[in-house]
Symmetry: C2
Subunit: 307 residues, 2 copies
């Protein structure tokens, strides 16, 4: 059995327009790298953090907290060192904390000979996620661990469904370099919603799941609507409506990634995804906001062992 | 081409617990029969109604109104006589008006050589349904026309998705002989619902659609929850909670059929469906309410031509 693993822990998009709090999917071209090493010294120790300024104390670090949750359950006869090469900017809305939380437990589970299944790993990772966001949720962690599209039917008890992913589905992401606090994005939402709108939303969730099962890109497009959350949260993202308008021609649908500020657009084929990227760049280039864009195939594998 | 058709127009269950206003499925052992006959005399004429006291004037009869909607669009060189053998009691909550509305347009379309597709037929049938319920909705008509499980993604424009139906899925129905007015069942619902509950509901809609695609009976069972509508409407149905409790052992899930008063329970296999029927009969036999029960395989064909 190996004593050290280098892994790729992917960025993810949660909510996916109609599926607020339950749907998510996994990216391929952006994610963190982590090295996890077995040690004779017991405990979880974070020994290196590259990229962003994050706490080294395991119980104050997202990757450390999730690792500790697994570690205290497994009670192995060894310890683990964690090196974090953080590529996903914290607060970007593409699952930065989830990548950290999920990566450490995935790798430790591998090094221990896989005592836990994927759903159990998500349960541990949710402890780390809770440190970052204040509440245990799995809509980013689930696609990071399972890959592809996931539906979190419930968190208590945790139940994650792995949905099929059409072969030629790509996502374009823009990350405007502004801060949207998850707490603010939560606070802006109403506690109650119109029943009529809720019905529209669950019709679209059902349709999207059906569309993923039937490889129906047109239906994916028609289902990617959010009448509940987007009207509120889009106000927190500058030029959201311009981006939506500009991506109209080539994208299947465009929405807020997680609680923002990143925006995602799904497309059929890499050609259209790149045209969508250009359309978004044209919008944001005219503003004074710094931004990054990414194009990625939907990653059906999830976590990857690099070496 | 035939000049006369005898058809079976099936009863249906709308809502299906989590899928309020969007999901429905089709029954096999209960439905109306209708005879539709081409006539040289133009227009739509209802010539016979057996079973229940319903208006003979085409523009005041549900089957007549939907037939007229199709007729006025098709402008054929003939007319049609309609005989209605009404088996589904109006107001039972298993799609009595939908069976009438859908049956006439289905048969006339057949006699005209199928100028319209199923979605177009549903559009015509919705005009008849509107006469009965005051608003155009398709959650009973769609499964009557398509068969199996259907999801109405939207009514304007109308979009109906045909969902797969697991092979061994049966439904048990109890129809307590009491009146629940659709208008009252509508009025009892709140205009707004908690966002948290709406999320639970759309997680279950997504899960149920996934479960139908994957033949996962356990997941069907876990998804058959209604946290939005059932808490209100179940109060209108005597002994609803007793029925739910009694069917717990063998049914995958139990809920209100449409706006009630009928209750449906889905089961894996006819054996369990019959045990569920017995359990329900045991509950209702102790009350002074008259009732009927039915057991049916899910009818994936929908309308049937009998001769």
């Amino acid at each position: 059995m190996k004593n050290e693993l280098k892994i790729f822990s992917p960025a993810t998009v949660a909510n996916v327009s109609c599926g607020f709090d339950v749907l998510g999917f996994c990216l391929d071209t952006i994610g963190d790298e982590m090295i996890i090493r077995k040690t004779t010294e017991k405990g979880i120790h974070i020994t290196k953090i590259v990229g962003y300024d994050l706490p080294f104390e395991a119980d104050k670090n997202v990757a450390g907290v999730s690792a500790l949750a697994l570690y205290n359950d497994a009670k192995p006869n060894c310890g683990f060192e964690i090196e974090i090469y953080k590529k996903i900017k914290p607060g970007s809305g593409i699952g930065s904390s989830s990548a950290s939380a999920a990566g450490s437990v995935f790798a430790i589970n591998e090094l221990l000979g896989r005592p836990y299944n994927k759903t159990q790993l998500i349960n541990f990772a949710m402890k780390g996620e809770a440190l970052a966001s204040g509440s245990e949720h799995a809509d980013n962690i689930a696609p990071a661990i399972f890959g592809g599209f996931t539906l979190v039917r419930g968190v208590s008890p945790l139940e994650v469904l792995q949905l099929p992913t059409p072969d030629d589905l790509y996502v374009t992401i823009i990350h405007p370099q502004i801060e949207v606090k998850t707490s603010e994005a939560r606070a802006i939402l109403p506690k109650e919603v119109e029943l009529k709108k809720a019905i529209t939303q669950w019709a679209n969730v059902g349709s999207l799941v059906h569309a993923l099962h039937t490889n129906d890109y047109d239906l994916i497009s028609r289902s990617l609507k959010d009448v509940i959350v987007e009207p509120y949260r889009s106000k927190l993202i500058p030029f959201f409506n311009d981006v939506k308008l500009a991506t109209n021609t080539h994208a299947l649908g465009t929405g807020i990634s997680g609680s923002g500020p990143s925006i995602f657009a799904l497309s059929e084929g890499i050609g259209k995804a790149k045209k969508v990227e250009q359309a978004i760049r044209n919008v944001y280039s005219k503003t004074d906001i710094a931004f990054e864009t990414y194009v990625s195939k939907i990653n059906v594998q999830g976590m990857k062992i690099l070496s």
